[in-house]
Symmetry: C2
Subunit: 189 residues, 2 copies
């Protein structure tokens, strides 16, 4: 899953390339501009694609992160969508890259908006289509967990928890609207 750790969101300012925030001539909002050559880097929200994957025993596929943010915590196979692929192809690619898993996608489970970091997460429901698993370079290990054995206290990101619960809500259903962010917790009651 994606960088949601605040500690990872403030990299040191780059010393090359687009790095000055200013409103270019003819535009209506600040863009990132290179002071050396005037190149404008248009920043866009990024799409994260991933899947809640189960095997034929109903166990859930999770990957333990080998990279920051949240190294050592468990996550769904997911990552940034690449150019020239569909969202489904991206989710299947990430399952292969991070967990060595062939998956069969069945439905769009949820869409989570994280506007603070300009991210849209599209999480599919899928089943394992082959017996093999293998931790990729971004995973310390991969494993299959029964629901009751999911390491809830060691999940990397809130949206991993949301997606697993969405899976339970939708078990056995087809043709449903994808889930969205849960309402924020109500404080002070």
């Amino acid at each position: 899953m994606p960088p949601v750790d605040p500690a990872a969101l403030s990299p040191p300012p780059p010393s090359i390339g687009p790095r000055v925030r200013t409103v270019p001539p003819g535009e209506d909002r600040e863009r990132l501009v290179c002071p050396d050559c005037s190149y404008i880097a248009y920043e866009n929200p990024k799409i994260v694609v991933g899947a809640v994957v189960t095997d034929n025993l109903g166990r859930f596929l999770l990957c333990r992160r080998a990279i920051p943010p949240r190294r050592g915590f468990w996550t769904l196979p997911a990552g940034y969508m690449e150019l020239n692929e569909t969202t489904e192809q991206g989710a299947a690619r990430e399952a292969m890259e991070e967990a060595g898993a062939h998956i069969a996608i069945d439905a769009l489970l949820a869409i989570y908006n994280i506007p603070r970091i300009s991210q849209v997460q599209m999480i599919y429901r899928a089943t394992l289509a082959g017996p093999t698993l293998a931790a990729g370079t971004e995973s310390l290990e991969v494993a299959l967990f029964d629901w009751k054995d999911i390491p809830w206290d060691e999940l990397a990101f809130p949206s991993v928890v949301w997606a697993l619960h969405e899976w339970r809500t939708r078990a056995g259903q087809t043709g449903f609207a994808p889930g969205t962010n849960p309402p924020p917790p109500v404080e002070g009651l």
Copy 2:
């Protein structure tokens, strides 16, 4: 709606900023690199957000494009998602910018993948929430059409046609899975 016109897809090569395709050290695929300062521009798929908007008489809101590609053709209010907004906020913003329309979003109607141009389109179903309309700077005019009066031969992009038909398929329904690209036409039969 987005650049889908092939004529608009081959801009002249830029003379500043990231413009050389090469595999940077430690990476596994080509990236766009600036030969002057080594800055790497990570290219990501872009999200287009938009809506099929109807008024209380069941008419469909369309905008006639004032800009290329497909200038003069009719489209849905839609455009690139900006930073720090949700997909729903982006769709509502585009309806305001392009058509001066306040809208109330009701459901996610469809998700279209256009991998050739690395685009994911998220099209919502919405109703007009106020009586006023006003063509924005990207629209020559905006108008409301009964279904039978939609200028089918003057729609800007295939996905406009797909989304309008998806709207008809889903009329009166809630809690449905968003539509996806129709299967490509079968040739040679």
